[in-house]
Symmetry: C2
Subunit: 352 residues, 2 copies
């Protein structure tokens, strides 16, 4: 059996054509399966192709067709299981539609985001999915790259006339606060992202709105900023503990990694969760199920965000210029990290 290596290079469709004794046009017609070829020739070309180990060169195809079959996706932190899950959702759809995914992590650096974006454009991806870390003011210039894209996450609010997919933050926040109030908690303390981040502002304002709508004054709510990581959560929690007066402390973290860090820090400080400290997170990453105690959290539809973004991008690539901005609902995942005061009271009564 002849091999690709016999040429010292990969066989082209011309090699196949020659081997089959036809012209490259005919060989191409066979490969694309568009008919109008005699059965004898089809067989000959197929055989030659198999014998030579022919593999179509997608570079040449995209060169000619203007379609690369490549899709880019840039998220801020691929190490965060939440974003990993979003990417996985996108991946699933990409495989389904026969395209390949170029995955980048901006690591919260605008510089990196820009450079990855340029790499994507130069690679001539058919489109990209982006969670831009751009803050208010310096909105990036990917809007005129001449390449279809779908934004994901909170920062997409900065581009109201562009298609985007996100989770419904106000609804998620309300779900969390409803749960806390149902469990008999007072105003929570917040662990939020870095000061300038838009996501932080959205999170905080959703919380304020919730309380204002219920005639509760939210001005007393304490908030500590931190990086969106376990260590960021630890540091913020350490500060909260230092300033804390009173008995039970309730903490609402803006993402699960920070919630995990907060719980770890509390434990190190000798505080029991949920007895002394209640923690509720935001994201719904798998690790939350196994931590001690299991983390009560607001699960975002991470995989769905990735999937829907790809679906939307697909339509954009097909030329459908519709603008859609779905905000998918979050749901409460009740586990063990939030103390239920009502249940405690009941239990106390039972014991008495």
């Amino acid at each position: 059996m002849r091999r690709a290596s016999q040429f010292g290079r990969r066989p082209t469709i011309i090699d196949v054509a020659i081997a089959a004794g036809v012209s490259k046009s005919t060989a191409a017609r066979v490969m694309s399966g568009q008919g109008n070829v005699s059965p004898k020739v089809v067989a000959a070309v197929r055989t030659a192709s198999r014998d030579l180990g022919y593999q179509r060169n997608n570079m040449a195809v995209s060169m000619r067709s203007g379609r690369s079959g490549l899709i880019g996706i840039i998220v801020p932190d691929i190490s965060n299981p939440f974003w990993a899950e979003v990417v996985r959702g996108a991946q699933e759809r990409a495989v389904l539609s026969g395209s390949s995914l170029l995955i980048f992590s901006s690591d919260w650096s605008a510089e990196r985001e820009r450079s990855h974006l340029q790499a994507l454009v130069q690679t001539r991806v058919d489109g990209f999915v982006l969670n831009t870390i751009a803050d208010e003011g310096d909105t990036q210039d990917f809007t005129n790259l001449g390449c279809p894209f779908v934004l994901i996450g909170t920062t997409s609010d900065l581009y109201p006339d562009r298609s985007s997919v996100g989770s419904d933050i106000p609804q998620g926040v309300a779900t969390a606060l409803d749960h806390l109030s149902r469990c008999g908690h007072d105003l929570p303390k917040l662990i939020t992202g870095p000061p300038r981040r838009l996501a932080r502002a959205k999170f905080v304002s959703a919380i304020n709105r919730y309380f204002i709508d219920r005639d509760i004054d939210p001005t007393g709510i304490e908030a500590e900023n931190g990086e969106y990581s376990v260590n960021g959560g630890r540091a913020a929690m350490a500060r909260l503990i230092r300033h804390h007066k009173g008995s039970h402390m309730t903490v609402f973290a803006a993402n699960d990694l920070m919630a995990l860090g907060a719980m770890a820090e509390a434990r190190d400080a000798g505080l029991a969760c949920p007895a002394d400290v209640s923690v509720i997170g935001f994201d719904g990453i798998p690790s939350g199920e196994f931590c001690s105690p299991p983390l009560t959290t607001i699960a975002k539809p991470s995989r769905g965000i990735g999937e829907d973004a790809m679906r939307l991008l697909g339509r954009l690539i097909e030329g459908d210029s519709v603008v859609m901005r779905p905000r998918l609902p979050c749901r409460l995942v009740e586990r063990g990290s939030v103390l239920d005061f009502s249940a405690t009271r009941e239990r106390t009564l039972h014991l008495a």
Copy 2:
């Protein structure tokens, strides 16, 4: 300022050349910065390029040069934080070397692996990193795809004359068993991967060897197979619990996700960890730090594996045909999921 969209298509280097009033050869010389161009012309071309928003078409470049600047990586399960971390290591190196990573997950399906592999070849990646799920017997045919590659993980042992990067399984296993024995444990029970998987065989045989080398008969060791996932670990643990006689149970899981599952299952069965059940894992995923109790495990150098594989692949792509097969050392991460009988005894004495 003129924009890419003025042509209705992306500007090419010819557009730049025309705008600058030179030939495309000259424009190309400027863009590649290889000198022999008068300063005046350089300035003109630079200006034209910026004005038009010119972005080099990497498809055309790779077409001409035979280099795509694309690298593929296929892992069995991108949802597993261990593999995510390997990919992240690879990503880091890729960005450093100016190439982009195409990431695929085979999800333990040979069919998918083959299809992803074909996608990579057709995209003309410069090389790829692969953890093949191929079992003994049906070794895949990526060896004659005419594309440089580096294998990672246990299955690379099936291709002894190919470059690969892995972790030192025997050393890791020995580290784990040393620790268990130091803590006063008897023979552990095993939670392993699916029966036909080569990784399972390597794991089990490393354990057998360890005991044989120490004149201990390993034949009595119980092992339960399962998928390499949390639920796989749960199911295996359920079976172990059902068959268990005696007091304390010691479990060595072949990966951390299964260890997490085992701990969850034990908890659901009313067994305390580590009091009733000791669990030691293998991988070193971040979630292990936050579970209850924190998971004692053997950490593989996940990120290093990804990095080294890319480094090696880089050399292969450069034409250096050296075969290297580093096996990176694992290290013990001692946390709370393994009961230390010696310490317990001491503490008991102190209390008495």
